[in-house]
């Protein structure tokens, strides 16, 4: 049934975005700014020892238009659990359950010296996309920093999921095939450690990461 009243409602404008500025750490990661204030901090470790799924680490750097490694970037990620379910009430995919030990959200800053950011998480399962089409396992990224006027959205996919990636409805939306590779994190096995996926983000110019208008 058409909800006509809703359709006639005036649409307000979204509040204008503004840059996160150079001191974003104070608000969102005060420990990185150099002080302790909150009892509980939101950070880059998404798992505890009871979380289900394959432990992975994501590492990368963020580059500007002339290849400079940026050291003042804040990144947030959002992902499904190992079964491919989001810890959110709007996800009602049949047969998949929430993992009480996994929210699927994390926040990291690029290091002030090396520019490296990292997340400790698990590899997500596949989520059903629009029209019932499976999406390849992926993690949503949101990138803010000084000089970024509106937060940038992108997705990270996994190099060891070539078949699923080839069928992914979002990757296939990118008409320039050579740009698709910018979304694929490369898996590296490290001795005695968890597998690491390298995911570098290029804000501008050669090899520019695909960003989405969601």
């Amino acid at each position: 049934m058409i909800q006509s009243q809703q359709l006639l409602q005036p649409i307000l404008r979204e509040t204008a975005s503004q840059t996160a500025g150079p001191y974003v750490h104070i608000g969102l990661a005060p420990q990185a700014a150099g002080f302790e204030i909150f009892e509980r901090n939101f950070g880059n470790v998404l798992v505890d020892d009871r979380t289900e799924g394959e432990r992975i680490r994501i590492e990368g750097r963020v580059f500007d238009g002339i290849g400079t490694v940026l050291k003042d970037v804040l990144i947030e990620i959002w992902q499904a659990n190992a079964a491919g379910r989001y810890a959110h009430p709007a996800d009602r995919q049949p047969g998949k359950v929430v993992d009480p030990h996994f929210r699927g959200w994390g926040r990291a800053c690029t290091d002030f010296d090396s520019g490296v950011y990292s997340f400790d998480t698990i590899k997500p399962g596949s989520v059903t996309g629009r029209n019932g089409r499976a999406m390849a396992p992926h993690i949503s990224f949101w990138i803010v920093a000084r000089g970024i006027n509106l937060g940038l959205n992108t997705r990270m996919y996994f190099s060891d999921e070539a078949q699923a990636n080839a069928a992914d409805p979002v990757i296939n939306l990118i008409e320039w095939e050579q740009r698709r590779a910018t979304l694929i994190a490369q898996r590296e096995e490290r001795k005695g450690g968890v597998p690491v996926y390298r995911f570098d983000i290029r804000l501008q110019g050669e090899g520019e990461t695909v960003f989405f208008d969601v």
Binding site: R13, T19, I37, Y86, A87, A90
Partner: protein, 258 residues
């Protein structure tokens, strides 16, 4: 009332999607007067994505994750006294583009102190640090989308853009709503600040109407007598559009084509 979904076409899709982002509400990625944006703005057009579960879901926060003083910047870093500066309450509503309250939204704020100095190891401004002021806080909106916190009014400060560039006094906001696409970072300014018209960051906002939306108004009705003044700042996040049909399909339709 029952509704049989068509075998082909729009089902299944997320229960509810968010309205397409109106990019004219925001500063462009490249705003040359704000020099840092020149090398940090993508040159390629953004790829437009129809929303899936990945975009309409978002982390859910619980009040137990916040501390009792997280929304009180006057006290949450005080050591041996109160911070210096004008005491203010900032409050308002977070709603979506259809005017509905956004409940349980995480509102995170950060700012410099009354001298214009941030408690950040990278801030070298000569303005003094205040031993009793941290400059960050956070609060969850209630069932009406309402939030409030108490703080010290921040000072203006110089920054390196042009030689004699000054930021109007402002408080940074990061808001996490109910869907990933509602995530928003912005800054709140203060009514009457003479630095507002000359700020290249604020001037990158494409319309006067949108700039006005970033300026908090003094709200005399919420002054705390003999204690604090108050400012009102409302926030609009992306609109949440329920599906047009009330009977939603819960599971993928067999044989649905794309």
């Amino acid at each position: 009332m029952t509704f049989a979904p068509p075998p082909l076409g729009r089902f299944p899709q997320p229960d509810a999607e968010y309205l397409m982002r109106d990019t004219t509400s925001h500063p462009p990625a490249l705003a040359p007067a704000y020099k840092t944006s020149v090398l940090r703005s993508p040159k390629c057009a953004l790829i437009s994505l129809q929303q899936s579960l990945s975009e309409v879901t978002a982390p859910v926060f619980d009040a137990s994750e916040l501390g009792p003083l997280d929304n009180d910047l006057i006290l949450n870093a005080a050591k041996d006294g109160l911070p210096v500066g004008e005491r203010i309450v900032v409050h308002g509503y977070v709603h979506d583009q259809l005017g509905r309250p956004v409940k349980n939204a995480l509102v995170e704020v950060w700012q410099c102190n009354a001298s214009g100095r941030y408690r950040h190891k990278k801030d070298q401004y000569i303005g003094a640090l205040d031993p009793n002021f941290g400059g960050c806080g956070r609060v969850l909106t209630d069932a009406n989308g309402y939030y409030a916190y108490r703080t010290i009014r921040p000072g203006p400060y110089p920054w390196r853009n042009r030689v004699n560039e000054w930021r109007p006094a402002h408080i940074h906001y990061a808001i996490s709503g109910n869907g990933w696409v509602q995530r928003l970072i912005t800054q709140m300014y203060f009514e009457g600040d003479p630095l507002i018209p000359d700020c290249p960051i604020l001037k990158s906002v494409p319309s006067e109407e949108q700039v006005r939306g970033l300026i908090a108004l003094q709200d005399r009705s919420h002054f705390v007598p003999l204690d604090s003044r108050a400012y009102r700042f409302d926030i609009v996040l992306r609109g949440h559009r329920a599906t047009l049909f009330e009977n939603r399909v819960q599971a993928p339709v067999e044989g649905a084509s794309t």
